[in-house]
Every structure is written in C-alpha cells, then in structure tokens.
C-alpha cells in the first residue's frame, strides 16, 4: 500500500501490505477466479447474442473481492450499506451471491433477481444485504450514500460507496465530501474510487488537475489513501484499516484504488482483451505458485471447473422465461414499506 505523493492532512499509518495467511489467500484467489470466469461467461453470452450489453469488472477482482469479504453483510443500519457501481460482480460473489443470477440479468430473464429483466448486466440490488440498486447515471450514488450514512451515525454499520475515476468530475463526488465532513456531523462513509485511468475512451491525463483524486479529500480533513488495487493483499489490508477507521471513528475515509480495465469499457467498445494492463488474477496466481499455495495444475483445474459450471448454467438460463409485456407495469408503486420492515 503506497500512500499518495502529497501528505495526508490526517496521516493514516499505512504499513507495507502484510502477507495474508495461506487460507485467506486461497479464499480470495478462489473468489477472484470465480469472478473472472463469470465476467468471461457474460462476455461470451454477449458475443453469442445472449444479451444486449455487457459491462463489468475484469481487472478489479483483487480489490472488489476483499471488499466483499470485509463488509459487514446484512440488513438494516447495523450492517454496512453498499452503493456499488457496475463493475462490482466480484464484490457480490465474495458476499455469497450466486453467479447464475448475474447470467440471468445478462439474459434479461424474468427470474433475474436484481431487476426482473429490466436492467443491464452488473446492475445489482440485494436488499437482504444492504446492496442498494446500482445506478446507470454515474456518481449519483455518492449523493445518495450520504443518506444511508446519516442513518448510521449511531449504528454499528457503515456506508460504502464506490465509483470510477472519471465520474469524480461530477458534482456529486464533491457533495459527498462536503456532507460527510461537516464539523460535528461527520458521517461514517467509506468513499472508494476505483481508478482505471479511463472514462470510456478518455484518458485520465488531461482531465484532472491533481495528482491523485483522493487528494481532493484532504482539504475536508478526510482521511485518504491510494493503493495498488491490483494487489489483493494490499487491498485487503487497506480496506480492513479503512473500514475499521470509519466504523470506529464514525468519520469519512477516501480510498483510491488503482485498478485495471482488462476488457475495455464495455461491450460497446468490443469487450476484447486489452494489452498493457496488469492482470491481477494472473499476478496473484504467480504469487500463490511461488509461495507454494497452489500449483499451475490446480489453478487450471479450478478454472476449468468454474468455466464448465457457468457454461452449463448459461445454457439453463437460456431456457428461462423472458418477462411478459404486462410485467412492465408491475412495481410502479409499493403497497407496503419493505425497507422499514424490521429496521
């Protein structure tokens, strides 16, 4: 974990990433691999005409898996709220989501639990786990996160909000910092920027006046850190520290994770493999082999198993029913208050 070049206003002590125990490494790796294989399956589905659009997170697994493992999963203010973006499948898997559900959303079948065939791939929603619906409009989650965080000022849970680098140019990113850092009314919110140095086709260089996006938090007295999001151990350590800080101090933290965009922006840009980007899964595999936690053969076996499982699942999903035309008119107004049920 490297801190940003300029000093933080409230320095966080960030030690070199500790080696995680072999067991934890294996757990993380397994989820990273499952997430990667899931994204590959989704892309294949798109390319085979089993979905209209793909967007997702190949290249963010090393960061998103630890996030999913470290949050306090559950329902209501005493658990963590997650305002994720559209590259968060690995976080969902780490929290225990069934990858088949992502295929269902890709194929927009009626059984898609996240949106009933209404929304694009990657637009998750799990009320049982406080995962609020992923929005297509960039950055609005940072304004909405203020609200869940406010509801948690005296609760055990915290709010986590995540988005990309380019999106921080929207006013909502500033809004989140302004509201989260009001003196005497600070909010327990972990703001995450997953910086892949692109917004669609537009490179980071030329659009940003600061060295690191997280520098913007400093004037607000917000804790900041920049980490190598391609390193699962660094990510795990940084997230653990940041989450603990937010939970204990009830104050905001702004964490910037440098990540890769391995398949370009989305299916709109082809979803093909991008050269010159670090592949966190491959890199972690090397580390695990080096540490003799796994062998190449074991890795290959796992990958094959997961790939086959999802290929089978995709076949099954293909047979599931599409939403009926009439179903477009369902869920316009709620009859009862679901969110308040047992809060």
């Amino acid at each position: 974990m490297s801190t940003s070049s300029r000093p933080t206003t409230h320095p966080v002590s960030v030690s070199a990433p500790p080696r995680l125990a072999a067991e934890t490494c294996l757990q993380i790796y397994d989820l990273m691999l499952r997430a990667r294989v899931l994204e590959e399956r989704l892309i294949t589905m798109y390319k085979q005409g089993d979905g209209f659009f793909w967007i997702g997170g190949p290249g963010e697994e090393a960061f998103n898996v630890p996030l999913g493992l470290l949050v306090d999963k559950g329902r209501g203010v005493d658990h963590d709220f997650l305002h994720l973006h559209y590259r968060s499948a690995a976080t969902l898997l780490a929290m225990g989501a069934d990858p088949v559900d992502a295929l269902r959303q890709m194929k927009n079948v009626a059984s898609d639990p996240y949106s009933k065939g209404r929304n694009f791939a990657g637009h998750f929603s799990v009320r049982e786990w406080n995962i609020v619906p992923v929005t297509s409009p960039i950055e609005v989650q940072y304004s909405i996160a203020i609200g869940t965080a406010r509801a948690q000022r005296k609760a055990k849970g915290i709010t986590v909000v995540q988005g990309g680098d380019a999106g921080t140019a929207e006013g909502d990113f500033a809004t989140c910092m302004v509201w989260a850092s009001r003196k005497g009314a600070e909010l327990p919110v972990l703001m995450i920027v997953t910086n892949n140095r692109y917004g669609i086709s537009t490179p980071y260089a030329g659009q940003h006046g600061y060295e690191q996006i997280s520098d913007r938090g400093k004037a607000f007295g917000i804790q900041t850190a920049v980490i190598d999001g391609n390193d699962p151990e660094a990510s795990y350590a940084a997230l653990k520290q940041a989450i603990a800080y937010v939970r204990n101090e009830k104050r905001p933290f702004l964490l910037e994770a440098m990540v890769s965009r391995l398949r370009g922006h989305s299916s709109a840009s082809g979803a093909n493999l991008v050269k010159d980007e670090i592949d966190c899964v491959a890199r972690f595999e090397e580390r695990l082999i080096e540490r003799q936690i796994l062998t190449r053969a074991e890795i290959d076996r796992r990958r094959e198993t997961y790939t086959n499982e999802l290929a089978e699942a995709a076949k099954h999903v293909r047979t599931e029913a599409q939403p009926t035309p009439e179903s477009a008119f369902d869920y316009i107004f709620a009859e009862r208050n679901l969110v308040g049920e047992d809060n």
């Binding site: 996240y114 304004s143 909405i144 609200g147 869940t148 406010r150 302004v178 208050n337």
Partner: protein
C-alpha cells in the same frame, strides 16, 4: 384556524412524534429560522443542510433506503431543476429493482406565483412533477387538506412530492375545517407554535394535542358544486376559481370547481363524473402551457369523453415564457388571474354545440 403553513408544521410534528419521521431537513429548515415560510419552526428533528439541493435529495433517498421516513425541503421549487435526475431515481428505484427497494420519502417545496417573486421565486412544478413516474404528487389548497395530505405523504411507502402553493401559505382555513385537536382560537395557536421575532434561542413550541387525519392520496374534493361548467384545478387556483364561480353565479352560470389535491394519481372517476354532468370543462393551473399537466387531462377527457363534450375543453395556464417578471403587470399577464378564468368559464357556458 391554522394557516396552511401552520397546518403543515403541525402535520410534521405528528410525523416526528408519532409516525417515525427522523429527519426534516433542507436549507434554513432548522433553528433559528425554521424554514423561509416558517413551515418547520420548533420541530425536534429539523436541521439545516448545506446549500446543495443535490445533497438534499440524495440524503433523502439514502435515508429512505435505510428504512427511515425523511421529509426533505427544497427551499423554492425554482431550485429543484438540477435534481431531476435524482428525483427520477427516487421514482424508479422500486421499479428498476423489480420490487426490491421502495423509497418512502417526502419532498416538500413551495411553488407558484402570487408573491411578486420574480423569475426565480415564481416557478410552478406541477407539470414537471407529473412527468416523473413513480412519484405521488399532492398539492393542497387549504390548511386542512395540507395537514391530511402531509400525513398521508409521510406514511406512504413511495416517494411523495408535496407542492406548497406559496401564495396560500399564510391564509387561514374555514372555521368548519378545524384540525382535530387544534385550539379554536387562532391567536392561541400562534402563541403556542409560532416562533417569536428576535432571539429564539430559549423558545420552545407548545404543541396542541392534534390528532391524525388522513386525506387519501388520489381523492379530489368538490370545492364548489355546480352544474354548467367544470373547472379542474389545484393549489392557488382553487380559491381563485371558486371566487370566479361565485361571481359568475350572479350571471346565472353555475360552475363546479374540482380541487384535484392529488396530481398523481389523480381522481379520474370524479373528473369523469363532473364532465359527464356539465359537458364543459376548463383546466386551470399556473405552469407554462406547452406540455402542461392540464393538457394531459384534456387529452384524456377528449379520448374517453369526446361525445359528452358540448364545447371544446379549455386550458387557462401560465404563458409559455422564459420567466415571470417582477413588475405587477408582467406577473399578471403571465399566470392565470380571476378575470381570465371568468372569461373562459363564461365562454364555455355560452358555447352551444
């Protein structure tokens, strides 16, 4: 008799003490001011936000998703136009998530002309609001409805927009419309719940023991019964239309004024019944006239009740202008006035098919 703004304050008091409202917030909503129209004076859970409408709406959505019942205010609806994307999100979250998350928030905001508010304190919001699916939209024309609609808004599991006709906020209700539990003497009420001028740091309201009264969202009210012409209106234009109708009664024109109260969902059965009775209909509202909610009502009436109509339906609405000017003559020329309403009713009444 409570004024409309007092009635709203009383409803919010019931909300925060009995209906689970945890946060009432917006610019200058907390102490010391208690809202630029005094709507939130003395409330326990009222607080001042940063000057940031996007943050206000975002916070409301977030609080609602966390299972609370927030009431947020945009100080003037004129300043809500940078939040339409967030309002759309609040309105589509239940649908987009396939019924996973509802968003039980209330957004209140003063609307309309009539206080010489010039370009940015005179906007209407009804046409824009009705274009945001997933919201319920209400707009009272008197204190009692304001009270009862606010309570319904608070307990509704969906986002509800509460449009406050600013020209009516300081008008008192009719003696027959006393809120349940409200002291009969309005001076007494004021002394109990209106903050004093000057230093307020030691002031605390003494709340009367008001009781719940729910005006169902979606139900209109016949503000004045009549047989010859139907006027469909809401908010500030209701008393205006009633006054117009009362004056026209002397000319032998018997006008029915329907106060919609809810713009979405609106009370189609009552509208249809009135049009079937009078065969002549006028829609009145203050919003600009191109792509106006009254035009929706007229379209639906024409589509479903064409052969009931003895005259072409009419719309009296705000002029399609970039703003409402400060000078009296400009404002009067820009939004409906009683005389224009009377002329339109007269023409409708005189029209023979």
């Amino acid at each position: 008799m409570a004024t409309m703004i007092q009635a709203i304050r009383l409803a919010l008091h019931v909300g925060e003490t009995r209906l689970g409202v945890t946060d009432i917030f917006g610019e200058d909503v907390g102490a010391p001011l208690g809202g630029v129209f005094t709507g939130t004076q003395g409330l326990e859970t009222a607080w001042n936000t940063p000057l940031d409408e996007r943050g206000i709406v975002g916070t409301a959505i977030g609080l609602a998703l966390a299972g609370q019942r927030p009431v947020a205010e945009i100080q003037f609806c004129d300043y809500a136009f940078n939040t339409i994307d967030l309002l759309k999100l609040a309105g589509n979250t239940y649908w987009s998530s396939g019924g996973d998350w509802n968003v039980p928030m209330v957004l209140m905001t003063p609307v309309g002309a009539g206080i010489r508010g010039s370009i940015y304190h005179s906007h209407s919001f009804d046409a824009t609001a009705t274009r945001i699916p997933g919201w319920k939209i209400v707009m009272p024309s008197n204190p009692r409805d304001a009270y009862g609609l606010m309570l319904s808004a608070i307990v509704d599991p969906n986002p509800v927009m509460f449009l406050m006709p600013k020209a009516l906020l300081r008008l008192k209700g009719k003696p027959s419309d006393l809120l349940p539990g409200e002291p009969e003497d309005d001076k007494q009420l004021a002394s109990m719940i209106d903050a004093p001028l000057g230093d307020r740091s030691a002031w605390k309201p003494r709340w009367p023991d008001v009781q719940e009264l729910y005006i169902p969202i979606g139900e209109s009210r016949i503000a004045r019964p009549g047989s010859r012409v139907t006027v469909l209106t809401y908010g500030r234009n209701v008393p205006m239309a009633v006054a117009a109708a009362d004056e026209l009664a002397a000319e032998g024109i018997d006008t029915e004024v329907l106060d919609l109260r809810s713009l979405h969902p609106y009370d189609w059965p009552a509208i249809a019944a009135s049009v079937r009775k009078t065969n002549r209909v006028l829609c009145v509202n203050e919003d600009t006239e191109v792509t106006n909610f009254g035009e929706h009502l007229i379209r639906r009436i024409v589509e479903e009740l064409f052969y009931e109509l003895h005259a072409p339906p009419r719309l009296v609405a705000g002029a399609h202008l970039p703003g409402i000017g400060l000078a009296d003559a400009l404002e009067m020329a820009s939004v409906p006035q009683k005389d224009g309403i009377k002329t339109a009713i007269r023409e409708l009444a005189a029209h023979e098919p």
